[in-house]
């Protein structure tokens, strides 16, 4: 009886579920225990009956239009065209806002780029250009700004 309480739960075990020692022990017990042999026979019979019953129930059911029915229901719940797009944006407001702002940000980036490029292409502080037909001017760039001296006259005095 003690062996029965040990091996009876193993009767319904699947293939490979039991360890080698358990399998050997169970086989030895079944040879010696008629009650457990009868219980095993009952379980196998019940398993076969259940399998057959399920197969019969499935065979009675006609799945021919199953796929068409599913597709029809999916199609009925999905709007098409512009409505589908609007429905998508209604459900994803953040994406909608980002999509609307993207062209604005791109335009702003272009404006900043062209304004910056325009600034750097202009004259810079410290650009000095001095020309004289009568003198040899000198430019001193001091920390307070440029100092322009006319220098010596190119023409001799009295002319």
């Amino acid at each position: 009886m003690k062996d029965c309480t040990t091996y009876a739960p193993m009767l319904g075990a699947r293939e490979g579920e039991l360890a080698a020692g358990e399998r050997t022990g169970l086989a030895g017990h079944l040879e010696a225990c008629a009650a457990c042999r009868a219980r095993l026979a009952d379980e196998r019979a019940l398993e076969g009956l259940l399998g057959e019953a399920l197969l019969r129930a499935a065979a009675r059911r006609d799945f021919g239009d199953f796929a068409d029915g599913v597709m029809a229901r999916v199609g009925a719940t999905q709007p098409s065209g512009l409505r589908a797009l609007l429905a998508f944006f209604r459900q994803h407001r953040v994406i909608a806002a980002a999509s609307a702002l993207a062209p604005t940000l791109a335009a702003l980036a272009l404006i900043v780029y062209f304004q910056t490029r325009g600034t750097t292409s202009g004259p810079l502080a410290g650009d000095f250009e001095v020309t004289s037909e009568e003198h040899s001017p000198m430019v001193l760039d001091t920390s307070d700004g440029p100092l322009i001296l006319l220098g010596d006259s190119d023409e001799p005095e009295g002319t």
């Binding site: 944006f89 604005t104 325009g118 001091t142």
Partner: protein, 145 residues
């Protein structure tokens, strides 16, 4: 909601792109006519204290202010400044940007023309007459004084 956002975005882009690249208001300018002299002991007119460092780079020892003009200058509209020598000086603003301004200084009597770009906090000191008897005239130009 999407429609409103799209309209707002287009409107914003249109307004921003319509803004002028740079505003072009008049530029306030202070022009001083000064005389430097090699003769006599070193002296600096108290009105010229702010120019001390710049004037120290010249060989002239005595400095005095002989005239001053203030004007709101428009672009490409010359400012005529009479000089004690009888000559005239022409100052023109060619360009003004966020941090810099470009002046053109013409001294027709000396056939001299300068194009100078300075920062807003700087000033120009420009000799406008040749040295005569140890003295010469200069102008100093300061934007946004």
């Amino acid at each position: 909601m999407t429609g409103r956002l799209a309209k707002a975005a287009v409107l914003t882009a249109a307004v921003l792109s319509a803004l002028p690249a740079e505003a072009a208001p008049g530029v306030p300018v202070r022009v001083r006519v000064i005389r430097g002299s090699r003769q006599g002991p070193p002296a600096l007119d108290p009105q010229l204290q702010d120019l001390q460092a710049q004037l120290g780079h010249t060989a002239y020892l005595r400095w005095e202010q002989v005239g001053e003009h203030r004007a709101d200058m428009d672009f490409n509209k010359p400012l005529d400044v009479p000089l004690p020598s009888g000559d005239r000086l022409q100052i023109l603003i060619l360009e003004s940007r966020k941090e810099t301004v470009t002046f053109e200084v013409r001294v027709p009597a000396q056939k001299t023309q300068s194009k100078l770009t300075i920062s807003k906090d700087k000033r120009i000191v420009h000799q406008v007459t040749p040295e005569k008897d140890g003295s010469a005239y200069f102008v100093t130009i300061r934007p946004w004084p």
